[in-house]
Symmetry: C2
Subunit: 256 residues, 2 copies
């Protein structure tokens, strides 16, 4: 629940000029004051990377009628510099996306979109990453916008756990085919990588990453199940990656 | 437990020429065949970043008498291309580091060293990241090497959970002052960032990230407590970032 008129920070990882971020700004504007701080170039797959050994620069502009800052850093840098330097007060809500492509399942840990949201929640700010399951430049964001609106409204009007962070994925189907929303867990899955090997004009070998997504999880409580059944998936995420379940099983390591 | 003579992949995030990786290669060589695949430049703070929209190149060399490949990508790229392209068979063990600087607590999610290890565990390969709490170029890695040796020996000779991934941090004190090893959980902590604002020769503003590490956790079962008390901290980590505890508390979002 947010008191007064919310200050909303919008970020993404596809870069400040992407269609997805414009769709999200339009929705965010309905709820309060919006400031955009987003990468000045595409930063997909940047995970939780931050800029440690280089400088950051920011350039002020306007997008969809709101003040925006193009930042030379990663999505997580954008959140850090927005919260700690650019914004006059702590934002009430951080929205990341709308990403072009899925961030369900294991993709969440590679995702700049979701890392930006997670960084927001580390600042104890409610944060949501939105991703549409389409990489098309002509993707239709209207269903994603509709459900983003519903989720944002709930976060603003109802109490939520402190520092809540949501990973929201939207199936790429017309809005009338969407079954509803499901709160779920991250499915167990992985990528089986292949490297496409090529030769450059100087005769040197180089590689392109390709791969196949393999789901190793039959659970009906997962984001992959929800998306396959045309539900919007909502996975609450957090930054503790301790494998609590095996702590007691490996205590013998202490006596090595 | 690993059968036969192990094939050990060594990676890091400080780059293939760092002193830390040499210290780790020396220990790894005592246990089996070692292949190094590491970034061709420093990649600290790269988290789980991968190279999606650019090519990768690799250059073969030799370090500490073993075959090594300098890769143009991130630490996670190094693991992916090593396992899926460079190595003739799946490695039995992945060792990452020895990192120059701490990867305890929340630092784990920003760490290229630990993301490389986590990526190894996603390939179902036992993986360990080692970090020494010193950024000095003259850091003494001998205590870190001693305890790395003990942990590697256990992983090779005793059964472990499938895809085990360990985040091992070593206090920067002489070996005789180390209290022992503690299996623990990631402490709750965060960075309070500040941005140092400067002006470039062309009159443009730029920023350097600085910050203060703030621990918000009194637990004696944490990595921060262990390190403060001169223990080696061993935190088992995994890639499911679902906040399972709050799934039921936010089911109302489904009815928005």
């Amino acid at each position: 629940m947010i008191e007064g008129s919310p200050l909303i920070l919008v970020v993404n990882d596809d870069g400040i000029t992407s269609p997805g971020i414009k769709s999200l700004i339009k929705v965010a504007k309905e709820f309060g004051e919006v400031i955009v701080v987003a990468p000045d170039k595409p930063q997909s797959g940047m995970g939780h990377a931050i800029t440690l050994d280089a400088i950051l620069s920011i350039n002020e502009m306007e997008i969809e009628g709101v003040k925006a800052y193009a930042c030379s850093g990663t999505p997580v840098d954008c959140v850090k510099i927005a919260v700690n330097k650019i914004l006059k007060r702590k934002p009430d809500l951080i929205l990341s996306g709308i990403n072009h492509g899925s961030n369900s399942s294991i993709n969440v840990i590679y995702s700049g979109t979701m890392s930006a949201a997670l960084e927001g929640s580390l600042e104890k700010i409610p944060s949501v990453g939105f991703s549409l399951l389409s990489h098309s430049i002509d993707a239709n964001f209207s269903a994603a916008q509709h459900y983003a609106r519903l989720i944002i409204k709930q976060l603003i009007t109802k109490p939520s756990p402190e520092g809540i962070c949501l990973n929201v994925n939207i199936p790429n189907v017309p809005q009338e085919l969407i079954s509803g929303m499901k709160v779920c867990r991250q499915a167990i899955a992985n990528w089986e990588e292949e490297y496409d090997e090529r030769t450059d004009p100087m005769g040197r070998t180089y590689y392109w990453l390709t791969g196949k997504f393999v789901i190793d999880d039959e659970g009906e409580d997962t984001d992959e199940w929800a998306l396959k059944n045309n539900y919007i998936s909502i996975v609450p995420v957090q930054s503790d990656i301790t494998n609590h379940k095996i702590i007691n099983d490996i205590k013998h390591l202490e006596n090595a």
